[in-house]
């Protein structure tokens, strides 16, 4: 008998046990299975019970209504829409309106928030007090009141269409909104866009080249004259060769209202204003906390290198503060998106207004429509969260490097 060296016992089972049951072992795994089973059973009961009740009361259920004709109109739509389109189309119209107001709101909220935070930290007494007052007033008033305030304030301040405020005879401001010339694509648009894209790419390449020169060889190269030349020159050349990229349709007063041109409705302006101003107050506090969390020594070190206050903030303090700022900032972005559903109070056609409002009461299918709407907000929140986490991960990596 030859003795073989004993094979080590297979690690497969213990590994599986740990992966499935954690420290509690198989017992933990069984417990988890039981929990999942209960969860599945409860949700099955809810769904089957609901559909049984609906059937018993002969309430229509299912998603067939999505293919039916909506038959009502919406006053702001990013995609072509008419009353003869389906409820599915209405859903996308509402969704895009929600996304539009959320994205623009997030942009302005972030901008105002950062400015106010820096103002509050500024050594200038007046600026600091003003910024502090802004935060305290705005974040302590209910959002719905602010939305109504901006809507009614905006409307009250604006004249009717016949007395519009006119700028150069082509921009008009009245209580129907801001009416601007509508750009119409011409033959020269494609070459123009191409030229602009080329100019931008070349400029970025130049800028990176100058950075490399600075880091590798300590040489300051000034590239901005070339960048400027590229950005202005290439599109200009395209216009000269291929003709103008767009022409503008000038709005004209006709009957009650302006015909032609594009229009920004006051509901959109009021909602964006209210959402960004409200959320900015919270963002300002988050940013301030983030900046204060960076050790004072960092700022002093920057100053002792001869950097100005702006450069210290931009190059040293804010990158470190962002690590603290990012998670609560994500919360504020999510809040803003969800708060945009207050739009129905001022007649802005967002998802809740046109889909969970008009569509719901026309079809009466509350469970399906509320379900879809909740799913959409969940999805929007998860996507926002994922994007911010990715940014946070990149930031952490670059700070660690």
């Amino acid at each position: 008998m030859t003795s073989h060296p004993r094979k080590p016992p297979s690690q497969f089972l213990p590994k599986l046990q740990r992966a499935l049951g954690g420290q509690a072992g198989w017992g933990g795994f069984v417990l988890q299975l039981a929990f999942v089973a209960v969860l599945v059973w409860v949700s099955f009961e809810i769904v089957s019970n609901a559909s049984e009740n609906l059937r018993a009361q002969r309430i229509t259920s299912g998603f067939g209504f999505l293919a039916n004709t909506a038959g009502f109109d919406v006053n702001q739509s990013l995609i072509p829409y008419a009353g003869s389109d389906t409820y599915t189309r209405v859903f996308f119209v509402g969704l895009l309106n929600t996304l539009l107001v959320s994205l623009i709101g997030i942009f302005f909220a972030t901008l105002i928030g950062f400015v106010v935070a820096l103002g509050r930290l500024s050594p200038n007494w007046l600026l600091a007090r003003l910024s502090g007052a802004y935060v305290e007033v705005v974040r302590n008033l209910p959002l719905l009141f602010q939305i109504l305030f901006w809507y009614l304030a905006v409307l009250a301040a604006l004249p009717n269409p016949r007395q519009s405020v006119s700028v150069f005879g082509s921009f008009f401001l009245n209580n129907r909104g801001l009416i601007i010339p509508k750009p119409i694509a011409e033959a020269g648009l494609e070459p123009f866009a191409l030229a602009l894209a080329m100019a931008v790419i070349a400029s970025i390449a130049l800028w990176r080249y100058s950075l490399r020169q600075l880091y590798r060889h300590g040489k300051l190269t000034s590239v901005w004259p070339y960048v400027l030349g590229l950005l202005a020159g290439l599109p200009l050349a395209s216009v000269l060769i291929f003709g103008v990229p767009v022409t503008f349709e000038i709005p004209v007063l006709k009957g009650f209202n302006f015909a032609g041109g594009a229009r920004i409705i006051p509901e959109f302006v009021a909602l964006t204003l209210a959402l960004s101003i409200y959320t900015a107050a919270f963002i300002a506090e988050i940013v301030r906390a983030g900046i204060l969390a960076v050790h004072k020594g960092q700022m002093e070190a920057g100053s002792s290198l001869g950097l100005g206050r702006g450069a210290v903030l931009r190059l040293i303090v804010i990158p470190q503060a962002l690590r603290v700022i990012l998670p609560p900032l994500t919360n504020q972005y999510l809040n803003l998106t969800k708060n945009s559903s207050l739009a129905v109070a001022i007649g802005y056609p967002d998802l809740v207004s046109v889909f969970a409002g008009t569509t719901l009461s026309q079809t009466g299918q509350a469970i399906e429509i509320i379900g879809i709407t909740m799913g959409v907000y969940l999805l929007l929140s998860l996507v926002t969260s994922a994007v911010m986490s990715f940014y946070g991960w990149r930031l952490g990596r670059s700070l660690a490097a």
């Binding site: 009502f72 006053n75 129907r176 007649g347 056609p349 009466g364």
Partner: protein, 338 residues
């Protein structure tokens, strides 16, 4: 309001409060000691609370009449104010026993909501309210106008049909409640406010200067308004239906709040049947023999309720028009009590 509708939806989903399909609504109402009645959030003439919280209006009187026949006391009603978009969910979930909220009877509402219309309390139609200063005399002059409307109503679809049918452009701004829509109209955001004509007269009263606004002559739709009950309880459906019929029949028979006691002593066979001294018609509905007497004493006949709430005796001053009895030039007609 949004939160309420969500809770109701979830309750329906979980099957918590769905007694409708099998329950005896009449018994539930009797056990509870009061009727739960869904009304509007404040539409003068149809359902609106005064400064002491007392509800009045034509829709309110329908519920009071039901309470009168069930409890012999027209005040035993709990009024639940509902927005246009929450009303059906509240009925489906069993939160209210009857929806009496100027709701238009349409085929799709009758078939898909799990509820039935029990009759027509008011024949209405959609119209337009404009500022007199616009110098518009017809709805056909409204091309390119901005129109304020309450969301969740048949109004939005009628509006789209009318403007499309007449090849006119318009902009619609839809608000969650009628109050918000009227406020936007008053602030100049819209040229036109549209809803049922009766509603236009009612909302006009709330404006700062009612005389500056005019209702255009065009009526662009048929809006038969009536109460609704849930599917699955035919006894309750019959009861609500016949309370309204009885109000109309009482007017036709000349029974009024003043003369009802006298009429009860009459020898006329139709009066004896209606007022319970002959036969047991009330008991066939699950009520008492004197059910019509209770209705008339409680709220009056249809004509009296109409005059008091929306007609000459009210601020609205709307003419009877279509809502006159069938034998007097209108179309209000009820099957006979026999």
């Amino acid at each position: 309001m949004k939160r309420v509708s969500l809770v109701i939806t979830l309750a329906v989903a979980a099957g918590i409060s769905v007694p409708a399909a099998t329950a005896q609504t009449l018994k539930t109402v009797k056990d509870r000691g009061q009727l739960s009645c869904g009304v509007s959030q404040g539409l003068p003439g149809f359902s609106s609370p005064d400064d002491k919280g007392n509800w009045t209006g034509l829709d309110v009187d329908v519920c009071r009449a039901i309470a009168a026949v069930v409890f012999n006391d027209p005040t035993k009603v709990k009024f639940v104010p509902l927005s246009a978009k929450d009303r059906f969910t509240a009925l489906q979930s069993g939160e209210i026993d009857v929806l009496s909220r100027n709701t238009t009877w349409t085929l799709s509402r009758d078939t898909t909501l799990g509820a039935n219309f029990t009759g027509v309390t008011y024949y209405d139609g959609q119209g337009f309210l404009v500022k007199k200063s616009l110098k518009v005399n017809s709805a056909l002059e409204l091309n390119s106008a901005s129109v304020c409307v309450q969301t969740g109503t048949t109004t939005e679809q009628n509006l789209a049909d009318y403007f499309k049918g007449n090849n006119m452009k318009y902009e619609v701004i839809a608000f969650g409640t009628a109050d918000e829509a009227v406020k936007a109209y008053e602030s100049g955001r819209c040229d036109v406010f549209t809803t049922d004509v009766s509603g236009l007269y009612a909302e006009r009263l709330k404006l700062a200067n009612p005389a500056d606004h005019a209702v255009l002559p065009e009526v662009i739709s048929k809006e038969p308004l009536g109460p609704m009950v849930r599917h699955g309880d035919d006894q309750w459906f019959d009861l609500v239906k016949w309370v309204l019929f009885a109000m109309v029949d009482a007017e036709e028979l000349g029974i009024t709040q003043k003369n009802v006691d006298e009429m009860a002593k009459s020898d006329k066979p139709e009066l004896k049947r209606a007022l319970g001294s002959d036969g047991n018609l009330g008991e066939q509905l699950g009520l008492t023999k004197d059910w019509v007497i209770r209705i008339v004493k409680g709220v009056g006949n249809y004509g009296e309720a109409f005059e008091r709430n929306v007609g000459g005796g009210s601020k609205l001053g709307i003419a009877r028009g279509l809502n006159q009895l069938w034998n007097k030039g209108g179309i209000q007609y009820a099957p006979p009590i026999r």
